[in-house]
């Protein structure tokens, strides 16, 4: 594992340096907001998650010690937990088990300029764990090891979630399941 580029910033925040606070928000807010928006499909809820994530960052800054995970991975884990809290609160599921089966029916063809909404809908229709894997690796550009660490699964399990998620998206957005 290379040097954690956030470590020094976290230390300065813990010491009460206002410039470090601003630098941390500038560095992490766009990433956290993007993660939450794609996980929840709701901009307002994503902003709430971003704010709550930062409250936790400030709370842990003065006592942060690098363990097995990098700071960025830990931040992703915190934001994801907050997203899952909200997904569960929506009562979309009757049990704690989140569904693994996605609704893969093809989405209607998009009108010009409407593809973005179509992709957003497709992302919300795949299983949350598959969505999480795709958001972390594809959109957040975490390495496979970092993403697996944030999701607390093995790299093999991550690859399986990614592949199943992409196959579902392929079926919904392009109209086939990716098999030749």
């Amino acid at each position: 594992m290379g040097a954690d580029t956030d470590e020094e910033l976290v230390r300065r925040i813990g010491a009460g340096d206002p410039a470090a606070v601003q630098a941390m928000v500038a560095r992490k807010l766009p990433r956290i907001l993007a993660l939450a928006t794609r996980m929840l499909g709701d901009a307002a809820e994503a902003e709430d998650v971003a704010q709550e994530t930062f409250v936790r960052i400030w709370r842990h800054a003065s006592g942060w010690r690098q363990g097995h995970a990098r700071f960025d991975t830990w931040v992703h884990r915190v934001a994801l937990n907050l997203c899952y809290d909200r997904l569960r609160r929506r009562r979309e599921w009757t049990t704690d088990e989140l569904p693994e089966v996605a609704d893969e029916a093809p989405l209607p063809d998009a009108l010009p300029g409407d593809e973005e909404r179509r992709v957003s809908q497709a992302l919300q229709r795949i299983a949350p764990r598959q969505r999480e894997a795709i958001v972390l690796v594809y959109y957040q550009e975490l390495s496979n090891i970092e993403a697996a660490s944030a999701m607390q699964v093995s790299v093999d399990a991550l690859e399986s979630l990614l592949a199943r998620g992409r196959r579902s998206l392929q079926a919904m957005l392009i109209g086939d399941d990716g098999d030749d």
């Binding site: 704010q51 003065s62 973005e116 992709v119 592949a163």
Partner: protein, 149 residues
């Protein structure tokens, strides 16, 4: 983990290359670092190009999903909340440190007392010496003059 088992020295076969494209998409920079070198070699083949082309079509769709940049209002709210939160946390930690030190001190005192009790148990009181009517000469024995009588 699986990633640690695979190294760049092991050439990728078509099956593994397709599995990686299924999982990570058509951009090799997202693929496991340990397999990128082998993947670049395979990507130059006809079979590799076909697999990547297919993965790229979904990537192109996914790239259309963009998230707006954070608003200045959100940015400001988070920054202003930080000052209070960090200060409160530091104060909380300070008090816990104080309680911790007090606890350690108390524990030390109790341990010290226990040690003294074990090492130096109660000595039987010397009633003679402790007798309030006794003097420092109380054990001097009978007076010589009386003895002579």
């Amino acid at each position: 983990m699986a990633d640690e088992r695979k190294t760049a020295d092991v050439p990728l076969d078509a099956k593994r290359f397709a599995a990686l494209a299924d999982a990570y998409g058509g951009a090799l920079h997202r693929w496991p670092a340990a397999e990128q070198a082998a993947a670049i070699l395979f990507a130059g083949t006809d079979e590799g190009r076909a697999v990547l082309r297919r993965a790229d079509s979904l990537d192109t769709m996914l790239d259309r999903h963009r998230v707006e940049a954070p608003s200045p209002t959100l940015y400001g709210a988070i920054v202003s909340g930080a000052v209070t939160a960090v200060r409160q946390e530091r104060r909380r930690r300070f008090w816990w440190l104080g309680f911790g030190l007090a606890g350690v001190g108390l524990a030390g005192a109790v341990a010290g007392l226990a040690l003294v009790t074990v090492v130096n148990p109660d000595i039987q009181s010397d009633h003679y010496v402790m007798d309030a009517n006794a003097t420092s000469f109380g054990d001097a024995g009978p007076d010589q003059a009386e003895e002579d009588l």
